[in-house]
Structure formats: structure tokens, C-alpha cells
Amino acid sequence: MPRALAHLSDEAVVALCARSDEVALGELYDRFGALAYGLARRTLRDDALAEDAVQEAFLAIWRGAARFVPERGKASTWILTLVHRRAVDLVRREQRRRTEALPDSVPAAVTGAADDELWLRLERERVQSALAQLPDPQREAIELAYYGGFTQSELAERLGEPIGTIKSRMFTGLARLRDLLEGEAWATTPSTT
């Protein structure tokens, strides 16, 4: 089926969702489904639970679309926040606390158009390279919190550090990551580091 809404911005498609347009929800799924599933699977380490998290998140998008305010942030941020929150809620409920490397990832092919896929790959490299520039303790705190679903108290216990140290690593690391990502967005040539 051709994607009738492919020309619209994410924000416009969310606004269509608010008007009960199921085609719009399908379009958001086509844009973010693979990203959402990849994220949920990384956190939950379980395909069935990852599916649950993605389904709950898209229903939260469907229910909450009317309350989304474009001036406060991008639709992609809002959507990924909802996905992450569902995944983290589930991982805590299920008491899943595994942090070993993921088994070989499922085929990563995305269902979208070729330029979407290329863009996703470039974006992945951009964020990975920014993460790699963080000092190890900051990167560790951010990765365990975001991908692992650990709370700050759990991290303090796990890493044997005071909770204040964990808080400040998260804040300093995330603020540094923001600067790196924003800096690169404005750069005219790729960073060599």
C-alpha cells in the first residue's frame, strides 16, 4: 500500500491521529515501529515483551495525540519517550535486569523507503560517535539507565558509588551529549574525532 501521508511532517501525522485517523497511526508505526521495537528489545531482552511495550506505546500515542503540543518539542521525541517509558515500566515490573550483550540482532531491515533507511543509519552513526566521546563513567551511567532501565538508586548500588555521583554523571553526560549532537548538526563537515 502506498504511504499516502509520507509527505507530511511527524507533527502533522500526530495531529491526524488526534482526529482518529487510523491511517495516520499506521504511518507513525511505519516511521517509528522498527526504531521502537529495537529500543524495547534492547531494554527488555525479550521479543514478546518488546512487542507488548511497542503496542502499549502506540496506543498511548493514539490516546494522547490530542494533547501533543508541537511548540514544546518534536513529535519524534514525544513518541520515543513514550516507547522508552513503556519499556522501562515493563522491565521493572518483570524484574528483568540482564545486561549481557544482546544475542545476534534480528535482521535490521526497516520497512520504510531506502532514504529513510539511509537516514536512520547516518543518525545511528552520529549518535554512537557522540556517545563514544563521553568519558567512560558518564557513558556507563547513561547507557545503563537508558538502555538497561536501571534507576539511579539501582545504579548507585550496582556501581558502588554515592547516588549524588550517579546523578551528576547522568546530568553532565547528557548535557555533554546534547552539545555534541547539536554541535554536529551545525557543522558543515563531518567531525574527524
Binding site: 502533522a12 521495537y37 496506543l59 516507547v83 545511528r124 546523578k167
Partner: protein, 218 residues
């Protein structure tokens, strides 16, 4: 709680790393703190970017259908089915009413006159991406938008009339205010779509990004 502690909580909240009780406390703090709201918006965008560092994974094919089915099943509880059949005239009427209350004029006629005399000729077409409508009269039109934030410094909103895949510039405006009315500087042929992009101050001859507001075909 000192400022630094609040900032640290902002990052942890953006990463969903607060215990449930702390998260609730932070949300209460957030309601009264502009500074933290701004900080959170930017750190949440950064946290969202972390999702892109992971290889996307293809979900099982059945998941898409399951989600759409569940969405369909719960929506009738919230909004009547086929909302478009009534929302079109309703949206136009609401926008017109807002203008009339604000004492604004479209063209040289008051909206009351437009409504009274030219009820047949005047049509409202709903927008996606903002509250408001395109009001169409004959072959010309006006964009009526409510609650649009002012354009950032150095930027302007620009309206476009798009037909057969070609965009024609139809006026720039700054936004802000409760309801604004922008008379489109281009004719509005049947089937055209009106769209709005954010562009550099002064406007551009072709849109440089995807519209964030679009109308249904007029």
C-alpha cells in the same frame, strides 16, 4: 532542594531513571518551574536521540495490524466515528467565531457580513498541525490559525498554496496572539492545499522543509 540537585533530577527524569515516587515529586516540581521545563525539553530530546544509536529491528509482521485493531476498538469510546463529517463545518464555524469575537476583519468585509450574506460561497477547510481553517471564498482564501507561537527570532512563518505538487509563496507572518488571519496572496484553485513552513526572516521562494501545518484540499 538546591538548584544543582534539581538539574541532576532533570537528567535522571529524562532518562526515565527515577524511582516512581521521585518521578512523581519531580513532576510536581516541574509544574511550577519554567527553567526545569525548558531544561527537560532539551534533555528529553537528547535522551530520545539515544534510541537512534540502536540498530532498528523489524517487529513481527502481525504487530502493526494488532495495534491498529486495538486503536480502532477503543476510539469509539472517546470520539464519535467519522468525526470528519461534522468537524469540517464545525472547525470553520469555530474559527470564524473566534475571529468575530476578536473583531478581526477578513478582506474588507466583517466576518458577520461574510457569514450573513455569503453563507453559500464561504467554506472552511480544516487544518492539520494547528487549530484553525482555511476560509475559502470564490477563488481566494485566508488562513485562520489559533494559538500559534510567535516565530523565533530570525525566522518567519510562510504560507504556501500547493497544487499539482508545486508550491507558490502566499505570504509570510509572525504568529503569536490568540487567533490570526492571513489573507493568502495567491489565488486558491479548487483542489489546492494550503501549507505553512518555518523559514528564515523575509521568506523564501520555495519551501525549505516539510510543512508543519497543512490543509485538506480546498
Amino acid at each position: 532542594m538546591g538548584d544543582d540537585a534539581v538539574h541532576d533530577l532533570t537528567a535522571a527524569y529524562a532518562l526515565d531513571a527515577l524511582e516512581a515516587e521521585d518521578a512523581r515529586g519531580y513532576e510536581q516540581h516541574l509544574a511550577g518551574c519554567d527553567r526545569c521545563r525548558e531544561e527537560l525539553a532539551s534533555l528529553q530530546a537528547t535522551a530520545g536521540a539515544l534510541a537512534y544509536a540502536i540498530e532498528p529491528a523489524r517487529p513481527p509482521a502481525a504487530l502493526r495490524g494488532r495495534i491498529l485493531e486495538a486503536a480502532r476498538a477503543e476510539r469509539p469510546n472517546v470520539v464519535p466515528l467519522r468525526p470528519r463529517s461534522w468537524s469540517r463545518p464545525l472547525a470553520a464555524a469555530a474559527a470564524l467565531a473566534a475571529c468575530a469575537v476578536a473583531g478581526l476583519a477578513v478582506w474588507n468585509l466583517s466576518l458577520h457580513d461574510q457569514l450573513g450574506r455569503a453563507k453559500e460561497a464561504l467554506r472552511g477547510v480544516p487544518l492539520t498541525g494547528a487549530n484553525g481553517s482555511v476560509v475559502v471564498a470564490g477563488g481566494s482564501g485566508a488562513l485562520v490559525v489559533s494559538d500559534l507561537a510567535p516565530a523565533p527570532a530570525g525566522k518567519t512563518y510562510e504560507a504556501w498554496v500547493i497544487r499539482d505538487g508545486r508550491a507558490s509563496a502566499a505570504g509570510t507572518f509572525g504568529g503569536g496572539g490568540r487567533t490570526i488571519v492571513i489573507r493568502l496572496t495567491r489565488p486558491l484553485p479548487a483542489g489546492a492545499v494550503v501549507a505553512v513552513t518555518l523559514e528564515r526572516a523575509g521568506g523564501v521562494s520555495q519551501p525549505t522543509r516539510k510543512p508543519f501545518i497543512t490543509s485538506d484540499p480546498v
